[in-house]
């Protein structure tokens, strides 16, 4: 029994890394601009489409570089056409505007790149690796793509952490998140900061989109990944990069384990069908968290002077 | 040049010479400048002080002059003390927060010609009373801010004096020689400093201390607590208080340890954390504030953390003190304590800035046994001392390993203590003062014919431990009709250590036995009532509740047992008590504005109750005028129950009655 559980756990953790990558995009933008970016899922789809279609014409590395260019242009467009017009508006207004951006991107992505299912070939073997064959009968099966995802995620997180914690830009980002007007008054160029954040978030979206795309094929349903990122955010806290990672891992591992451990119990005790646990587990967990620790595992404690 | 000074180190300048040679590169003074800690070594301090002394001399400072030192714990002010002493002048520190009038009183009385001050605020204060100070010639200041546009005829930045002195020393070798001569000329029996008492009782008096006395006393306690040049203290106590001059200045010079000056008064707690001193003194009030801060933070912490905290604090209370005192402790206790140290005590002490403390003292007022035990159980070597300015601080001090919350320890090294017939504590000590400055009469009053200093405090030596217990101011101690000693404040303070008792007023002087009026603590008793499902609508109702009476009676009986253990206090056990129907209130004149009970006034106001306490009644009626919070006045009437409590029969007490 231990072998399969371990296998599920590792598989779940690696899926969790993907959730974390998407959540990371959310956190970045929220931390730096106070905007809850509903368009993150659409950005992942758009990024995946860009890489897939560009890689048809160019070698993959060049396609990725070009896609990064596309995401930067996109970030600039969003900043110039939407955010700049909404400086100093309420959070809810900005949120609504990202909703608009989300639906526009989903549609426009298809207008630009087409609406079929496309493939991204990362050149990583799809053959599973077997580990610990001597310890467990049959060993533990691991998907190399998921390992690649974990490595990419680790690299991205390190770079971002340095960027946010160490540099002056990081301090400026936090300032902008706290108070737009005050940030402007000390000469922090709001437009530039937003461009940086959205572009960064776009690059994270490329990473997430490529990995998901290579796994499932690039198709419309990728944008729904964003929905899985919501419970991750609630668990980890909206403003915490480590929170996004840990939250992603917990949800990824949790839902897979729940499927194989909780499922049989529900069948045995309540005579239920027992399926679909993977679909709701994350949300129930998030709901529990909302009740107990609304700021999330790593979120900043909300201190308000009244 | 410094090597030429060979006289014994019985003056502070000669100690400084010794330290500059022996501990040259070790830190002497630290201070925080623009957010960064700066360190001065003994060699640097000595160099600066020499230059400063030359600068002062050029302004006319000479042997025998008095120099006021006014301000917070700034390195330049400590150096002012040193530089004055190098020249044989006498520093007179004044409390930084003294109002202009008090300041003027001290400056006039001490006939100061010079003043070294911290900043603009102190300069302004002195200027505001300038016409009362015709003798004041020059002022030197540390902090330049705001002083730029002042008339600098009589005002000099200390930095400038040091720079001038340094230039002169560099040019003229004979000045350096002359300075060495000045240091050599100082004598141990010269006046080293005059410390003015804070003057809570009458005008403040100038306590004259000699260099040799100061250094002998400090050398004794440095040895007593094994302090050396690797120790560090946070110099945050008022510069003019004997505690600072002794604990930081005199001990620092005697042991060669480093004193760190806090950035300012408000940052002291953070500076404590950053410096992590090894020697620490604080009055009980400060320890209490620290504990409150910890408790508030724990209250905000998550449930698991809070549980963990309380569990391990419990462990510490059970085993911590025996471990600290190297007494036998069960293995389980030691293991649990070790875990607690990693999880709770260590981080907690670190947050408070106390994790490096090797020796800590408290004094000034009675410390609650729980509070005292709390810090000791966490592994901090907190001890009590008893002292006063006239002794140059130490009269008694608790040695490591012999610590009791209710004693102040045996006589400090080379201190001779006796208890006078009246119960008053009297002492002779190495550091004792030579007299009050320009006050022959007061000096005579404070000394006995055979040269002991009268402390004005009543006390006795505890039978079990042989340690001194201070019970009250000598003049407040009364006698029961049978002649038994009656120390009201001692009894009241002991009662007030129970969290349920907020205030207590004891009667017994010229009466047959001791009785008390008690105020319960509404918060503590209120939460107790909540737990016990005791329903009450008001303070009055709660105070009169039978269960509350039972609880307080248990406290009083417990206290009687404690009193019975000492033959001096055994006769002063409480026979009857009552719980007042209202809280004593400063608005009604029952307390002073500083929240001290006005015993006489309370006795008058509640005369029917006090009478009932002594005539055997079970209850008594009282009606008093009260002032409500909005200023209205009204009459409050109540019937108050009176309880008898068990006393412990004591052989000696019985003998006296028989």
């Amino acid at each position: 029994m231990l072998g399969p559980i371990l296998e599920t756990l590792i598989g779940g953790l690696l899926t969790g890394v993907l959730y974390a990558l998407v959540a990371l995009g959310f956190v970045l933008i929220f931390k730096a601009s106070g905007v809850f970016n509903f368009a993150q899922g659409a950005m992942v789809l758009f990024a995946a489409l860009s890489v897939a279609r560009l890689s048809e014409k160019f070698p993959l590395p060049i396609a990725i570089v070009l896609a990064i260019g596309v995401m930067i242009v996109l970030a600039y467009a969003i900043e110039f056409l939407v955010l700049r017009r909404l400086v100093n508006q309420e959070g809810i207004v900005l949120f609504m505007s990202t909703l608009g951006v989300a639906y526009f991107l989903e549609g426009f992505g298809q207008t630009l790149w087409g609406s079929d299912i496309y493939k991204i070939d990362l050149g990583i073997s799809k053959n599973p690796i077997f580990l610990f064959e001597s310890v467990f009968p049959g060993g533990i099966l691991i998907d190399p793509e998921e390992v690649a995802a974990a490595v990419i995620c680790a690299i991205l997180v390190t770079v971002l952490a340095v960027f946010f914690q160490v540099t002056r830009v990081g301090r400026a980002l936090r300032a902008v998140a706290d108070d737009h007007q005050a940030a402007q008054s000390v000469g922090i160029p709001l437009n530039y900061i937003w461009l940086v954040v959205w572009a960064t978030s776009g690059i994270v979206a490329i990473a997430a989109g490529m990995i998901w795309g290579s796994k499932l094929g690039v198709q419309f349903s990728i944008s729904l990944v964003a929905l899985k990122a919501l419970p991750v955010l609630i668990l980890g806290g909206l403003t915490s990069i480590p929170g996004a990672i840990v939250g992603g891992l917990i949800i990824g591992a949790g839902e897979k384990l729940a499927e194989i451990l909780l499922g049989p119990l529900l069948i045995r005790w309540f005579d239920l069908a027992g399926g679909g646990i993977e679909n709701w587990f994350a949300y129930v967990l998030a709901l529990l968290f909302l009740l107990v620790r609304p700021q999330g595992l790593f979120g900043e404690r909300i201190i308000e002077r009244i | 040049m410094a090597n030429e000074v060979t006289a014994p180190a019985d003056t502070f300048p000669r100690l400084l010479v010794r330290n500059a040679r022996q501990f040259a590169d070790r830190p002497a003074i630290r201070h925080k400048d623009l957010g960064i800690w700066q360190t001065l070594t003994w060699a640097q301090v000595f160099e600066d002080v020499r230059a400063y002394a030359v600068g002062l001399n050029r302004l006319g400072v000479k042997r025998g002059d008095t120099i006021a030192i006014v301000g917070a714990n700034r390195p330049k002010l400590y150096m002012s003390v040193m530089a004055a002493q190098v020249l044989g002048a006498v520093p007179v520190p004044v409390y930084a927060d003294a109002v202009a009038d008090e300041l003027a009183h001290v400056l006039v009385h001490a006939e100061v010609r010079f003043a070294a001050v911290e900043d603009q605020e102190q300069v302004d204060k002195i200027l505001s009373v300038a016409e009362r100070l015709p003798k004041l010639e020059q002022m030197f200041y540390d902090e330049k801010k705001g002083l730029r546009d002042y008339d600098h005829g009589k005002l000099h930045p200390i930095d400038e004096l040091i720079a001038q002195g340094r230039a002169v020393l560099a040019q003229d070798a004979s000045v350096s020689k002359w300075l060495d001569g000045e240091i050599a000329a100082g004598k141990g029996l010269d006046t080293s400093i005059i410390l003015y008492t804070s003057g809570t009782t009458g005008p403040s008096k100038g306590v004259v201390l000699t260099a040799k006395g100061c250094i002998d006393a400090a050398t004794d306690t440095v040895a007593f607590d094994h302090l050396d040049s690797h120790d560090e203290a946070l110099a945050y106590l008022p510069l003019a208080w004997v505690g600072d001059h002794y604990l930081n200045y005199a001990q620092g010079l005697a042991a060669g340890f480093c004193m760190a000056c806090p950035e300012n008064a408000e940052t002291a707690m953070q500076d404590l954390k950053e410096i992590g001193p090894t020697f620490y003194f604080a009055p009980p009030r400060v320890f209490e504030q620290m504990l409150t801060r910890v408790m508030i933070r724990m209250g905000d912490a998550g449930f698991p953390k809070r549980q963990l905290f309380h569990y391990f604090i419990g462990v510490a209370r059970r085993y911590g003190e025996t471990i600290l005192n190297h007494q036998p402790t069960p293995l389980v206790g030691r293991l649990l304590y070790a875990v607690g140290k990693v999880l709770i005590y260590g981080p907690l002490m670190n947050v408070l800035g106390l994790s490096r403390v090797r020796v800590a003292y408290t004094a000034g007022e009675a410390i609650g046994p729980d509070l005292f035990a709390f810090y000791r159980s966490l592994g901090m070597n907190l001890k009590q001392l008893y002292g006063q300015t006239e002794a140059f601080l130490y009269v008694t001090a608790q040695p490591d390993g012999q610590i009791y919350a209710d004693t102040v320890g045996p006589a400090a090294p080379n201190v001779d203590i006796r208890i006078a017939e009246s119960g008053e504590v009297q002492f002779k000590s190495p550091g004792m003062f030579v007299g009050y400055f320009k006050d022959e009469a007061k000096t005579k009053e404070a000394m006995t014919a055979d040269g002991y200093v009268k402390t004005g405090d009543a006390g006795f030596f505890d039978d079990k431990t042989g340690h001194l217990k201070i019970i009250d101011r000598a003049k407040d101690v009364g006698r029961l009709n049978d002649g038994t000693l009656f120390p009201p404040k001692y009894i009241e303070n002991k009662l007030k250590f129970y969290p349920n008792i907020r205030e207590a007023v004891a009667y017994g002087d010229k009466r047959d036995f001791v009785t008390v009026l008690i105020n319960i603590d509404l918060t503590a008793v209120g939460s107790w009532a909540e737990r016990k499902n005791v329903v009450y609508g008001s303070y009055q109702e709660l105070a009169g509740h039978a269960l509350v009476y039972d609880m307080i009676a248990r406290h009083v009986e417990e206290m009687n047992r404690a009193l019975s253990e000492d033959k001096v206090t055994a006769g002063a056990q409480i026979k009857r008590f009552l719980i007042l129907h209202k809280e004593l209130d400063a608005d009604d004149g029952e307390l002073t504005r500083t929240q001290k009970v006005r015993r006489g006034f309370v006795a008058e106001r509640y005369a029917p109750l006090v009478k009932a306490l002594y005539d055997g009644s079970r209850e008594a009626d009282i009606s008093t005028e009260v002032t409500f919070e909005d200023g209205r006045k009204g009459i409050m009437s109540a019937r108050v129950e009176i309880r008898d409590v068990k006393t412990v029969p004591v052989a000696t007490a019985l003998e006296k009655v028989a």
Partner: protein, 266 residues
Amino acid sequence: MRAPAGSTVAAGEVLLSVENVSLSFGGVKAIQDVSFDIRKSEVRAIIGPNGAGKTSMLNVVNGFYQPQHGRITFKGTTRTNMRPYDAAHGGIARTFQNVALFRGMSALDNIMAGRTLKMHRNFFWQILRIGPALAEEDEHRHRVEEIIDFLEIQAIRKVPVGRLPYGLQKRVELGRALAMEPDLLLLDEPMAGMNLEEKEDMSRFIVDVNEQYGTTIALIEHDMGVVMDLSDRVVVLDHGAKIADATPDDVKRDQNVIDAYLGVAH
């Protein structure tokens, strides 16, 4: 806190002039054809009843609002409107009526943020934390510590500003503005909501900044005592229009001003 380089205006000359500025939101006229100037090294007060357009005026000067008409000349350069970045870059710093601090950051980081425009090293060096960037960071920290010392807020250096009492928040906000080493300091009700002692402290800081560093100050304030004590000249707005512009003493006697404050209809 030394005088910023590049300022070419001598004391007493006009540093900033506002000419015929009008600003409206939809149909509401916030400012109507207002002109006034601020001279180098003076303390200029802008007063007026609630809703007179004082804060709007500051927002125009500092580039938050773009006026429909009029011109602003700052240090000899005339613009029809300012952008916040240009204003900050040109040497205009400000504080806000309702304290606008970076709540998640410590007092120190807030004031450090005021140094943004003074930092020049690109962040490649910053990431590596070596060479010129490190020296520069130290230099800025030193400047910030001088401000902390000046404002006597050493004790709260590391405290997140969200936890500070209001009076101290205002002080930190002033510190952040001072960190910009501005030519022109705009203070929007620096003493609102303060107790007497805090007001006295703040007044002292304002006077010291003005006297010691020669910083030009424009302030909006409701406390008339403060305005009379601190300011050299006062401009009075009412319903978006300028109704007086004179010394404090003259303004106090001006019938229009008295009427406006008493609410007499014009």
